[in-house]
């Protein structure tokens, strides 16, 4: 147990230590401070952000209505959807990008947003599972019927009744999407776009290794925060549903 703890904590410690050192080995925030002005960082950061936003939007528009519709009207299709959304886990990114670069039309291949479109595929398993769990936790049919019989139209029902009930699972889906997009290396590297992870690796050749490790550690801390947030959201969500079923 202790050994396992050491194995898991040591690299974190070493990374932090290295990131918070200057080139002489003294403690300082120099590397972190130098990060924003490091050549190429701003461009990579901006590109990653744009990709993340586009991925979030496309993924929400595509997955949310489909999942809700299937839950409401076509529960028989759900296993099929479940199977389809597990495919991106079976077919790894390296294979997907290989096929995409072979088959995508040129105008799309020359745009960075091709990456976003593929990230939507990559995050599908997580987004679908998160939404699926959220929809299972609420009594969707009753909610929709109640809202409809009280005179709400479909848009109002979705916007004011269904989506607020899915808030925590939607949020966790989005956080996972963000974490994946900001950390994805395989596809971006092979599609030759300088996103943050690709930039970190290429910066290796440049002068200051501390800046590089600082960037990696920041990415790590960011992912950590995001996923911790998701887990705590999940927990508060399940607590609420438990309370609800307890009352019924």
């Amino acid at each position: 147990m202790l050994l396992a703890g050491a194995y898991f904590f040591f690299p974190l410690y070493a990374g932090l230590k290295f990131a918070l050192q200057d080139t002489n080995g003294h403690f300082s925030f120099q590397a972190v401070r130098n990060l924003p002005s490091a050549p190429g960082f701003a461009g990579a950061f901006w590109l990653s952000m744009r990709l993340a936003v586009v991925t979030l939007i496309v993924s929400s528009i595509l997955t949310v209505p489909t999942t809700i519709y299937v839950h409401l009207r076509l529960p028989r299709v759900r296993p099929i959807l479940e199977f389809v959304t597990i495919l991106p886990i079976v077919i790894p990114p390296i294979i997907i990008i290989l096929g995409v670069l072979n088959s995508a039309p040129l105008w799309l291949r020359s745009s960075p947003y091709l990456l976003s479109l593929e990230y939507v595929i990559l995050v599908m398993p997580f987004v679908f599972r998160s939404l699926d769990a959220g929809l299972n936790a609420i009594d969707l049919k009753t909610l929709v019927e109640a809202s409809r019989s009280l005179g709400g139209n479909w848009i109002k029902t979705m916007w004011r009744v269904v989506l607020p009930n899915l808030r925590s699972s939607l949020l966790s889906a989005m956080m996972l999407t963000l974490a994946l997009v900001l950390g994805e290396y395989t596809m971006a590297n092979l599609d030759l776009w300088n996103t943050i992870p690709v930039w970190i690796v290429q910066f290796q050749t440049a002068s200051d290794g501390h800046v590089q490790v600082a960037a990696a550690m920041l990415g790590l801390v960011g992912t950590w925060l995001i996923i911790t947030l998701v887990v705590s959201l999940d927990r508060s969500g399940s607590r609420r549903s438990r309370r609800r079923t307890g009352r019924l």
């Binding site: 230590k17 519709y69 096929g99 019989s149 290396y185 395989t186 690796v201 990415g219 996923i227 911790t228």
Partner: protein, 312 residues
């Protein structure tokens, strides 16, 4: 709440009544509209997935069996199963076996130790940490290991103070075993995540029943615990196998592509570091990987079915 649901179910039963009064052509039109509604609603999702996932996969399979000029050929497959590419498959499979079985077994013990411990704080911390660490592969992880176990890393420094510098004993982070050590970092947490629900499904009453019938702890594990857990453990190991077999980012950034692994070779071929007329060999390797991964996943689903017999 009960009032609302009564109204809702009431309106549900009365819904088909007004249809009877409308004319038959109108009814038919409505029927067609209603019948096509599921198709329309699912269409964007299906089309998107097909374009983004289906077509690329088909493209790989097609290109694997064609020359660049578009003639049918088995030369690509032939080339992919020879020399350095065959070595790539061998190394990938070996690496995946090593980094699925060892972390798989370790993960089970770790998960069991945590599951049986009484500290809820520990359980929660490990649960969260596993979720985080299992998603950690890639660039960030590589750098963490370089600064701890690299030639000038922190741990290497500490160990060399007591004259145990692993690099002096033939250790090298940028080799097969180095990659394996780094892979464990996300494979063990993944196994803990996968196996914890199964461990939770081992009912206390089974253990009590076994004890009442006079079974020792060893006999309980031999005849109850291990047989019940085995499918889940195997399933977890298969999952780890797939994840290690397909991983690209960690190995690529750690070794800058010097060890022969199938995903890295695909990347190199895609980057254009190729001998002429071998361009389509990359697709053949991709096809080979797809075959191996499909077999893994079919086995996984079979094992899962077996596992769900006892644990639900």
């Amino acid at each position: 709440m009960t009032f609302v649901s009564n109204v809702a179910s009431g309106s549900d039963t009365g819904v088909s009544e007004p249809d009877a009064t409308s004319t038959s052509s109108k009814r038919r039109l409505r029927k067609i509209l209603r019948g096509s509604r599921p198709v329309l609603a699912l269409a964007p999702f299906v089309i998107y997935t097909f374009l983004g996932l289906g077509i690329p996969t088909i493209a790989i399979v097609w290109a694997a069996f064609h020359t660049q000029q578009g003639q049918v050929t088995f030369a690509n497959m032939h080339a992919a199963l020879q020399g350095s590419y065959l070595l790539g498959f061998e190394n990938s499979i070996k690496l995946a076996l090593l980094t699925s079985i060892v972390p798989g077994v370790l993960g089970v013990f770790l998960a069991y130790a945590i599951e049986t411990s009484r500290s809820t704080v520990l359980k929660r911390v490990v649960g969260t940490a596993s979720g985080v660490l299992a998603n950690f592969g890639g660039v960030n992880l590589t750098f963490m290991f370089i600064v701890s176990l690299g030639a000038t890393g922190v741990l290497t420094g500490w160990l060399s103070v007591i004259h145990l510098n692993p690099w002096n004993f033939g250790f090298d982070l940028y080799t097969f075993y180095g990659v394996a050590i780094v892979y464990m970092y996300f494979q063990i947490p993944l196994m803990v995540l996968v196996i914890t629900p199964a461990l939770g499904g081992l009912r206390a009453s089974w253990r009590e029943a076994a004890q009442n019938l006079g079974a020792s702890s060893w006999r309980y594990w031999r005849y109850v615990g291990i047989p019940v857990l085995m499918p889940s453990v195997l399933g977890g190991i298969l999952l780890l196998f797939g994840s290690a077999f397909a991983a690209y980012a960690t190995a690529q950034t750690l070794t800058s592509g010097i060890i022969a692994l199938s995903p890295i070779q695909i990347g190199a071929l895609l980057d254009g570091n190729v001998i002429a007329n071998q361009a389509n060999v990359g697709y053949a390797i991709g096809f080979g990987m797809l075959v191996i991964l499909s077999v893994t996943m079919i086995l996984y689903s079979l094992v899962r079915r077996r596992a769900s017999k006892w644990l639900r």
